[in-house]
């Protein structure tokens, strides 16, 4: 096994293990911390693929900003076991069914891909900032701009919803 392969298996193991801990941890703050660990392992996987830009943006955006906001909200809410709403058995049952259907769809989707082709990097320098920028702003300019407008409208909408009514 080469170093890259063993690193991949190590990171994949930590990723799965820590995401299991996210679900099983009793304390919501600990869940968030395990989720941050999961993001770090994912960044490691991106870097193994030489996708440096995606890797570092994953840290800046997810680990660095969104997770801090998660922590912020959880601290403000001050979740306790007593005050947490208990789910009924029907809700749990529906949850299991929905999750199971999601799993089936994912398995079907993964089965149709060719696994021999996925690990080999087609173009080694594809993930560098320069090449990624060229592709994003030339080939995919229109979808990229539409996505950014979507983000902007979501942001404005969120601010509008959260605003207090002033007379």
């Amino acid at each position: 096994m080469t170093i890259t392969q063993s690193l991949f298996y190590f990171l994949a193991f930590v990723a799965i293990f820590s995401s299991l801990l996210v679900v099983t941890a009793k304390n919501p703050i600990h869940s968030v911390l395990y989720l941050i660990l999961t993001f770090f392992t994912l960044t490691g996987e991106y870097i193994l693929l030489n996708a440096q830009f995606i890797g570092i943006v994953n840290i800046i955006v997810y680990a660095g900003a969104i997770m801090v906001l998660f922590l912020f909200v959880i601290m403000l809410l001050n979740l306790n076991v007593e005050s947490e709403p208990q789910k009924t058995n029907l809700m749990k049952f529906i949850g299991i069914i929905t999750g199971g259907i999601g799993l089936v769809v994912l398995t079907a989707a993964l089965k149709s891909t060719d696994p021999s082709n996925t690990v080999v990097i087609q173009e080694v320098d594809m993930g560098l900032v320069k090449n990624l920028g060229q592709v994003l702003f030339k080939e995919f300019l229109l979808p990229f701009e539409i996505v950014s407008i979507l983000f902007l409208s979501a942001m404005v909408g969120a601010v509008l919803l959260a605003r207090k009514e002033t007379k």
Partner: protein, 320 residues
């Protein structure tokens, strides 16, 4: 073989120098504050009071390292380490001189932004794990302050990236051969520096620890070397922001040839560190809501405007 040895020497050397600078800054800060406030400052132990560094460090090591029984033990222990690790990792990409740089990443600047955004966890987790209302208030303030100022910090640097066409710090320094970027990006520099002060939560932006309202904010419950880590992390943060500013806006190691490149870098960085201390000596702390309004209503529009104008001028000049 000798190349590997050289590489390790650079890493160990940088680490050694940085930790010593962080300790030395304890003395520098106290002496300079005293000078600017017409006091004497520490002058008893050793020549010019220099041995206060030794006395302070020994005191920190020998103090009882107490973990409060009501704290979340694991998170409480991890929190102070996070800030030191994230700041030290950022130093890996700084070109101190042509031959002295640990790694020249082509996403160097983004790496710095990523690491500095991880520093928030130290404050948030430290404040939460202490399980103390003053600490929690400090943590919440710290989280919102650093999340907000991170936005302008990243955006204010994009002007420099546009001018040099690269995220690699070495390329950015070399692009400043003719003139420093501070001349082309004065707005970017001022906003970056303000955001840098907020990121290192130094006075006047030290509202996460505001001792007049919150005891000591997020680190109220910390003692011994765990408190020392926050302390060292703060001084390392000052050094980091100063050296990044020098590399991005003030030509890095470039300077007239009568001094070696490393000396130029050190002199410029020292100037900014002293400026940090002068700010502490002269400015009062704003209120929390004033800080947020200043950020979102003044700095963010200014940063976006700066980005727009810079991009427009570059496009105009590059037209065939």
């Amino acid at each position: 073989m000798s190349e590997t040895l050289n590489y390790w020497l650079v890493i160990v050397g940088i680490l050694f120098v940085l930790l010593n600078i962080a300790a030395f800054l304890i003395w520098v800060e106290r002496r300079m504050l005293a000078l600017w406030q017409d006091r004497l400052g520490p002058n008893r132990a050793g020549p010019f009071g220099l041995l206060i560094i030794l006395a302070d460090t020994l005191k920190l090591f020998f103090k009882e390292d107490w973990i409060p029984p009501f704290a979340d033990r694991h998170v409480f222990v991890i929190a102070p380490a996070v800030i030191v690790i994230s700041v030290l990792l950022s130093f890996a990409i700084i070109p101190f001189a042509p031959a002295i740089q640990i790694v020249d990443l082509n996403i160097g600047l983004l790496f710095f932004l990523g690491m500095s955004s991880l520093g928030v966890y130290s404050i948030v987790l430290g404040g939460w794990a202490s399980n103390n209302k003053y600490s929690l208030l400090g943590a919440l303030r710290g989280a919102s302050q650093m999340i907000s100022y991170e936005v302008f910090m990243g955006l204010s640097l994009m002007g420099v990236v546009m001018l040099s066409g690269s995220f690699s710090l070495r390329t950015i320094v070399e692009a400043q051969k003719d003139y420093w970027f501070v001349l082309l990006q004065p707005v970017g520099f001022v906003i970056f520096f303000i955001a840098g002060i907020a990121e290192t939560h130094r006075l006047p932006f030290d509202i996460p620890e505001a001792e007049s309202e919150l005891v000591a904010g997020f680190h109220s419950e910390y003692s011994g070397m765990k408190f020392g880590m926050f302390f060292i992390g703060e001084y390392l943060g000052i050094t980091l922001i100063s050296s990044i500013t020098v590399a991005l806006f003030f030509g890095g190691w470039l300077g007239p040839a009568f001094l070696p490149p490393l000396a130029w870098f050190a002199i410029k960085t020292a100037g900014f560190i002293l400026f940090f201390i002068l700010l502490r000596a002269s400015l009062p702390r704003p209120r929390y809501d004033q800080l947020m309004e200043y950020g979102w209503k003044i700095l963010l529009p200014l940063t976006l405007l700066n980005l727009l104008v810079t991009g427009g001028i570059i496009l105009f000049l590059n037209q065939p």
